[in-house]
Amino acid sequence: MRSTTTRTTTAAPHFSAAQAHPNLRIDIGIVVWASFLTACIATMVFFAFFDPLLLGNDDVPPRWLRDRMTGYAVGFFCFWLVSGLASAITAVLVESRPSEPPPIEDDDLK
């Protein structure tokens, strides 16, 4: 089993791949899964209000989008891409967050 990360406060922050992402596989899994759930909800809500065939300019859909099922699927994967991107950035920012500076103590006031 791999060792868990410990944040050191003495050394300058350094982000080696193994230390910054000790659980890369599971983290990717969580990002993919969470964004999948969000994309499902977004697709449902979005296409409840908008008909994919009426989204093009002047109500004429592009040639590759002539049936609704393609429209739904393209919409779903676009939502998944966007929510996945947001999840991934969140994960990276949370995982690589540097530690807070130490609290001000009595010694600092001398």
Partner: protein, 461 residues
Amino acid sequence: VNAVLKDPPQRGLYEAHQKVYPREVSGRFNRLRVASVIALLGLFYVLPWIKWDGRQAVLFDLPARKFYIFGLTFFPQDFFLLTWLLIIAALTLFFFTALAGRLWCGYACPQTVWTEIFVWMERITEGTRQQRIKLDQAPWTANKILRKSAKQFLWITFSLFTGFTFVGYFTAIDVLTAELVSFSFGGWEWFWMLFYGFATYGNAGHMREQVCKYMCPYARFQGAMFDRHTLIISYDTARGEPRGSRPRAVDPRTRNLGDCIDCKMCVQVCPTGIDIRKGLQLECIACAACIDACDDVMDKMQYPRGLIRYATQASMDGLKTRVARPRTLIYGAALLLLIAGFFVAVANRTLIEVDVLRDRNALYRTLDDGRIENVYTIRIINKDTKPHEFRLSVDGLANARLESDRDTHTVPAEGVSSVVARIQVPADVRGGRDIEIVATAVDESEYESRTEARFIAPAGP
């Protein structure tokens, strides 16, 4: 409830994952779960084949943007009903969680239900828990290959059938069957069938308890609905400890032992591989398999049942359990209100709706005789199972006239008609005005639907 994690999970648990071999169990809670599995999976697999008024009773026709649920037809405009239904479902989950813990996880969650059937298929091909562990450790003999491929065959066939049934909720299952026979599925039908089939195979066959542990959001926040009066799976520490083995004939008290004989049956049957004797844990999906296993052992030892049982923390502490408490009363009242409201809303659903879109090109147009004209596209939506004929008119603006290419407009059953309408007002009208566009059925149905719109005239004094 303060659930203490005696063994905090390591972050790297997924990689070092220990395969769980749940032991077969029998007893009243297992019978309850099997009954639930049969009922729920039966519902899932049978429902698409049921007919209602000559068509599939439950069909979510996405290409046509119509949902058929028994006698009712729903349009995208009814989306708020679906939202409402989801809120009811969520609140029901909260209510039962506050009352009796993770009932959903133990008996009704698709993950549990499908895992149960996949484990059953594993059992009939690979044998009991001990046989499965031995088989996995054994070298690849003909017997092992035969058993493993038999399991895979059952799993994959069942997964594909599951995917097929799933798509059958969206494409009429008669059509789908005909396509299956002639092997002519459409692209998206293939895609979603394989997608859902693969998800079933992966989640119920391989991931199993890891879905509950790592993927399920409900598992992470369900603890917030718990309190001291929530029914949970509890090990009676006071009665069980100190645990230890002993001959059947010996009175445990003479050896300073509690009722737990430390046979570890409760651990072996656990589908998530935890030891309930360590107390309530996040991983516990409240399937009650450990209760059944322990009751069985207690019977054999001729001890009273219930060393592991459904109990509240209050009752374990010798206090009275309160079912009616602010939390359950509030959840319950809100639930009743929402359910009642839902049925009222469905019963009073308007079968006719009118959507109005203003012409995008011009705000207004001045006619030769000075009158002012606005152009609209009016969509009349008929959710009824019969066609209707409508006359359009305008309300809310004196001397306004509505003109279109036809006098009346026929909208087919469960259909939509688009009408380009010109609304004309006298020349002296100024500024923006609120109007109402009215569709009145000219047949005996007496349907009428009104929609607000905006009329724009030149600004002025």
